[in-house]
Symmetry: C2
Subunit: 229 residues, 2 copies
DNA sequence: CGCGTCGTTGACGACCATCAAGGTATGTGG
DNA sequence: CCACATACCTTGATGGTCGTCAACGACGCG
């Protein structure tokens, strides 16, 4: 039931599992799917729901996170257009393992397990892409666990800054989200983030002007990120 | 080149990706594989090696871990007989994402990417199992990240104790490994582990006699594990 | 019996979350 | 256009958690 624009098609084909499919194959798959629009902060799924569908992001960003009993959250993934969410849970028909919510205005394609299974049976080459996607997520989570266990806040922050820097392809860039969200993502608090940013600035590694960061010394920042400082 | 006993077959079929295969299919796959025996502590792979093979554990236990620049390690997975190691990395032909080593005396079946690909092409039903295995690992890592970020040491230890308890199916059990290894697995030090165990004991939740633990109050232990205490 | 690994305990300090308060920015309605 | 509300950010003070260092006792094994 979902109409797809040409741009939608291009975005969907960004996902490894769909990259090998023809336009017609994607369109016929989408014919059985729902297009969902969400407002910022709107919930997509919760850990106690059964995973009947998984999602392809057409527009916006999705945050996948765990919640502690005290209400703290830890972001596991941050997904953007062309990425798939919860395909592993859906394939196994278990409960979703975490929370997911829209970060900004989001459009999703919701694919239910049955129609996806049918699509896989007709296009066996999707499997390689599916595995690739899962493998990427495994690697990401392994890196996250490493960071949380073995790196202190300065190293995690340095990492995040380097990521933003390379994403912007410039030594000066504007943070892609509010500082409080960055704090959350690297597993700390806004207060500690603020202090750590200031200490970087005092050390002459970066310059902070509100949401705009300029990296003054990439080498030191790299050293911080890998823990050699 | 690897001869498989009937017991080997039974163990291999424990892995979700092999569960649907016939004896002959497994034997013909194994004909192109190597059986590897390892001593305790012996390395299996390192993060800078190219992942040409992945492994099925026939005997013993394998620890997969990340290493910090300071030499601390964080265990990501602990695998036993019938589990597969590094299949995601091997399928994508990238570098291994972590270290792996034998915990005790280990026997592995090493499967290289090419022969596995061939096997998958002949037995498409393996795919579902492959995905199941990856999905399980994703869930495990997500849980680990949650614990590291959001739970304090007592909660993580309570969790570990509950796991050992249910594995033993008895309120009294002997730890499956040295305490220092448990400390490592839950991301802390032997000293802190020792103190936390003592505090549990002082609170009357468990009794500790060397490596033997008796759970005196399951409810409180559960509360500790979920963070409600 | 001696040695090495493991486990425990104590003292200490680093790191970081929390609480509280004030400052800044941004958008909204009058 | 200004006043105000509401977020977001910063800064300081404080305390808890946990890692580190050091010393010692307990095992297990050759």
């Amino acid at each position: 039931m979902a109409d797809l624009s040409d741009q939608d098609l291009r975005i969907i084909r960004t996902a490894p599992m769909f990259s090998a499919l023809s336009d017609e194959a994607i369109r016929s798959l989408a014919a059985h799917c729902l297009k969902i629009m969400l407002h910022p902060q709107e919930a997509i799924f919760r850990p106690d729901e059964e995973a009947n569908d998984f999602f392809v992001i057409l527009r916006g960003h999705v945050r996948v996170y765990k919640l502690s009993p005290e209400g703290n959250q830890q972001v596991l993934h941050l997904f953007g257009p062309g990425q798939t969410v919860a395909e592993a849970a859906a394939m196994k028909m278990q409960d979703y393992p975490a929370h997911a919510e829209a970060v900004d205005a989001v459009t999703l394609l919701a694919i239910d397990k049955a129609t996806f299974d049918a699509a896989v049976r007709e296009n066996v080459d999707m499997v390689a892409g599916l595995v690739t996607g899962l493998s990427d997520k495994l690697k990401e989570l392994a890196g996250l666990a490493e960071q949380l266990a073995l790196r202190k806040v300065p190293a995690r922050l340095a990492n995040a800054l380097l990521q933003e820097m390379t994403a912007a392809a410039s030594l000066t860039f504007t943070l892609s989200m509010a500082k409080k969200d960055i704090a959350e993502q690297i597993g700390t608090t806004p207060e500690t983030l603020s202090r750590t940013l200031r200490s970087f600035q005092d050390d002459g590694v970066i310059d902070v002007q509100g949401r705009t960061i300029t990296v003054l010394n990439v080498d030191v920042l790299n050293a911080l990120a890998t823990g050699q400082a």
